[in-house]
Symmetry: C2
Subunit: 249 residues, 2 copies
């Protein structure tokens, strides 16, 4: 709520990554912009530092801002009136927040960990889009990927068992790590079990039980509560339903 905004900390000197502090240029939609485009983008963006639990966006509020996450992690979720929660995505550096937005936010977003984001006024951003067709194309591309990811998640939520859901989740995180240049064996889990549960359409207890079962089977090894290593990647993706879909040994 009371975010520390460093207005125009995003000023850029032409060579640097956008946003000054922003280390995610190569990951983000900014990557399509030439230097002068970056400079113009910087002129209309704030750099926002957020702390754990801070609310970036609240469902139902007028959609004034868009964000490009540059550090930390964020959960995006929807609520039912009685409090049931569905997390529709976790965001990491380079991810864009606000694509699926009309006049009002249709989701809430909260910081999972401390971090930072480039924040744009939607209005100015729109103008920017019109001037930078490349940027628009990049966003369309990104929206298309997000839509694909959403479809996959619908398959997971609608048709997969608890084990398959958790295995898919871990396999996804591993793939993400690999895409970011990591080995994809050790996974960081910045979120709690409850958040994993709300992402996978399960309860905390089930997430915990299934995790234990995977551990017992030797598929994963817990390094700490918030990091684990994948001991049997092949078995994991089998359990995830990527291969045979029947992973019972």
């Amino acid at each position: 709520m009371t975010a520390k905004i460093e207005a125009l900390a995003c000023a850029v000197d032409g060579r640097l990554d956008p946003c000054g502090l922003c280390t995610a240029r190569h990951l983000s939609v900014c990557s399509v912009l030439a230097d002068d485009g970056l400079r113009r983008l910087s002129a209309i963006s704030d750099h926002q530092i957020f702390t754990t639990g801070e609310i970036l966006v609240r469902e139902g509020d007028p959609a004034t801002n868009l964000f490009n996450i540059t550090a930390g992690s964020v959960r995006v979720y929807k609520l039912l009136p009685d409090g049931r929660r569905q997390i529709v995505g976790f965001l990491f550096p380079g991810d864009f927040l606000g694509l699926a937005t009309g006049d009002r936010y249709a989701f809430s977003a909260e910081a999972l960990t401390g971090g930072s984001a480039c924040r744009f006024l939607k209005k100015t951003y729109r103008r920017m889009l019109a001037e930078q067709p490349d940027l628009e194309a990049a966003l369309l591309d990104r929206a298309s990927h997000e839509l694909q990811a959403a479809h996959n998640q619908m398959l997971l939520l609608g048709r997969k068992t608890a084990v398959e859901r958790l295995a898919s989740f871990l396999a996804d995180l591993a793939a993400r790590d690999r895409r970011a240049g990591g080995p994809g064996r050790v996974i960081q889990l910045p979120m709690t079990r409850a958040e994993i549960a709300d992402y996978l359409g399960l309860t905390t207890e089930t997430v915990s039980r299934v995790t234990s079962r995977l551990k017992t089977r030797g598929v994963i090894r817990l390094l700490s509560l918030h990091s684990l290593s994948i001991e049997k990647p092949a078995e994991l993706s089998e359990l995830a339903g990527l291969d045979a879909g029947d992973g019972d040994a």
Copy 2:
């Protein structure tokens, strides 16, 4: 598979809707195009007539075509290796097929009923996009709406009960009818119970049972197997979790 393609039946004389037969201009992304844009669009599109059960797109195939549905209805779905199916959407006239597409289709699409579509080669379409920034903006807008719809469906699949799912589904169809200018009281269900089930993450039996319960409660009235009328719209949206989320009388 053996679609009847009327190549260049989409030729347009400047005043007419695109695609000649296409009656969905005002619904579709075409609506942003001026007449000369339409003419150019027509030049790169086929008009495809499809019959019930015909496959428009197969998951895993190279993504060569994009479609603008002009008549009939289509189911878009994903499969698990063992045959479990998740329908990620039903398409109706004016809907666009292929936004969530990379090099290969990540979904399959089959005709639910007979109908027709404007079919574009992705390659030429890309070029068209570059020439028509308005079209790109319209697609981004549409992608954004689809993403929102996908998030809603994730909430439904992950957190709603069977009754809430069916009520949400019916309320959505009613809203769609209202948006299309209808009264939103009588709903057409071109799909089978099995397809509704695969869309809502349930089984045929559960869909049938829940439908019966809604009928007994007097919330809906079955006019035939494939059309019903909503007798108590307020109660329906309450059951859908749009209001109090607890609709037990």
